[in-house]
């Protein structure tokens, strides 16, 4: 269309200029390619609050820990096993609290179990979390009281089996949305979450366990942390410059950087000086912090990605162009 003219930029003044005291100039240079409705988002930003990223972290750590615990048990390292199991239980108790408090109508949390809904990651997740809580709880109880050994073992196994599911489904949860930066990363995100879950699990255990019993935890921590760092990069690269842009900008950008450095330093400490308790504690703490920050970065990136129509429109336009080309 020759002579195309977009009123948006002219009018966007009041939109982007915040309070419409007319700070937006009468005419601004029209933004090219991206057409939009006065620069307003096509999508709604998520309404989720701080509890959610914390849950992503806690659930992940819990899942990793139950697995770690079982492995330690199998290897006869009962101290490590018990510590890890306690961490799992901690995570399993924190998670529902966080989830419920994020609801618009907390008193109605039970509606989550109203249906069994395969198409809803959150619904499945709730079932998984409930089961995980129950089994882990049973396992811990049996372990401490030393009663019903067989049932206790069984619960440990069950909890360990559910663990990985708990750690990774949260990735499905957020990528099963129309938020570009989340949905486009649906392949990579589970791995990123898995890795950081293992790292957190290892780190938590390494903190709680005396160094001589914590070697496997340290190895797990360091290994997983490195994988996590690598995978995040892979994810961003596969997202492409535009879609991944939120990770470079504003809040998400800052969180992402912070998480990287924290994890790197933590891993280094753990690797080089993990045999000494203080270093292990410090390193572990940094790894955990890194994991929290990383989940937070992903979380905030989603908001930024939903807020700007270009992240929604441009990729869809390209897709159309490809298709017409084909």
């Amino acid at each position: 269309m020759s002579g195309r003219y977009e009123p948006q930029p002219q009018l966007a003044g009041s939109e982007q200029g915040g309070s419409p005291d007319g700070r937006g100039a009468v005419r601004m240079v029209p933004e090219e390619e991206v057409r939009s409705y006065y620069g307003r988002p096509v999508l709604k930003e998520p309404v989720w609050t701080w509890e959610v990223p914390l849950y992503l972290f806690a659930g992940g750590m819990a899942g990793g820990s139950s697995l770690l615990s079982l492995a330690a048990r199998a290897g006869g390292n009962h101290t490590l096993a018990r510590r890890a199991l306690l961490v799992a239980l901690g995570g399993a108790t924190a998670s529902p609290v966080l989830l419920v408090s994020d609801l618009g109508r907390p008193e109605r949390f039970y509606e989550m179990l109203r249906v069994f809904k395969p198409t809803s990651p959150m619904n499945l997740g709730t079932w998984v979390l409930s089961a995980f809580g129950a089994t882990t709880g049973a396992a811990v109880a049996g372990d401490i009281l030393g009663i019903f050994p067989r049932a206790t073992r069984l619960s440990e196994v069950a909890s360990a089996v559910l663990g990985p599911a708990l750690s990774t489904y949260t990735a499905v949860l957020i990528s099963d949305t129309s938020v570009p930066v989340w949905h486009a990363a649906r392949r990579e995100l589970p791995f990123v979450f898995a890795a950081s879950s293992m790292a957190s699990a290892g780190a938590a255990a390494a903190i709680l366990t005396s160094p001589e019993d914590a070697a496997p935890a340290r190895r797990l921590t360091v290994g997983a942390a490195l994988v996590e760092l690598g995978l995040t990069e892979v994810m961003k690269r596969r997202l492409g410059d535009l879609v991944a842009e939120p990770y470079e900008r504003e809040e998400a950008g800052r969180l992402d950087k912070l998480s990287k450095s924290s994890t790197t330093v933590g891993a280094a400490l753990m690797a080089l000086a993990g045999r000494r308790r203080p270093a292990a504690v410090a390193g572990g703490a940094l790894i955990l912090a890194g994991a929290v920050l990383e989940r937070w970065a992903v979380f905030r990136a989603g908001f930024q990605s939903a807020r700007d129509p270009k992240y929604t429109v441009v990729p869809q336009r390209e897709r159309l162009r490809d298709r017409e080309g084909a």
Partner: protein, 313 residues
Amino acid sequence: MSEATGEANVIPGSGGVSDAFNIEGRDVPESRPVIPLGQKTYDGEEQPRMGFFTDTTVCIGCKACQVACKEWNEVPDTIGELTGTSYDNTGALGADNWRHVAFIEQRKEVFVQQEAGLGTPAVEGEPDFRWLMSSDVCKHCTEAPCLDVCPTGSLFRTEFGTVVVQEDICNGCGYCVPACPFGVLDRREGDGRVWKCTMCYDRQKDGMEPACAQACPTDSIQYGPLEELREKANGRLEMLVEAGAEDARLYGANEQGYGMGAFFLLLDDPEVYRLPPDPEVVSRRFASLWGSAAVAAGAMIAGVAAAFVGGSR
């Protein structure tokens, strides 16, 4: 994103051929009647799938639909400031706006014969200008992400094939909000629950027309069995195209594309109306969503095991 169509359990066409651009009426692809998942379950009770056809070429931007909707559904008002965006002062669809009229002022070539009953015939020296108006609403998708992800079953498919939030169930988890590719659903401040267009479910049950469609002075909003509406729309589009309205296109009218229970006749790119040019049913990507999660879970087991390779102490 090229796997969009390639993926096994993606329903045919979601993110596939975009109806936003494949203009029906030119090469009429017969639109097969689609009974959306969930509607079938009303064995016997189920009704023909009902929908909205919003013909934006006859919209006069009066906003009767917005008011009629608020009156009937008792949707709260949010009185703000003048936005400075033409005559639109309510911004977008949301928990408190189940209908929203968009106003778009364009200085562009407008050359449409009068039979089309559109725009201004280009007269030498006259400013070419047009003012697009369009009443947006929930699309009541054939495959609705919001419905899929809702963990409580608060969102459900009615016997009319529409998608409705049950205010007596919703616990405000907010999952449907980012799931919707059109930014329709939102949580209501102070209430905590999610609200959106119900296509006047209660009125439908009594055989009444939804409030917005009944009020619409120029019949820009038409309500009826979806199949009939789609035929009507194709006819109208052909008439416009013949009359030279090159920009005219249907949006959401074709199951080959992203099927919508509420579809539109537009005169410009969807994004100009705040609509996604090529929406996708994100929630039906089971393979890529759960598949990699499963693999990742396995990888965890391997990873942890690996940590014990060097001994368990």
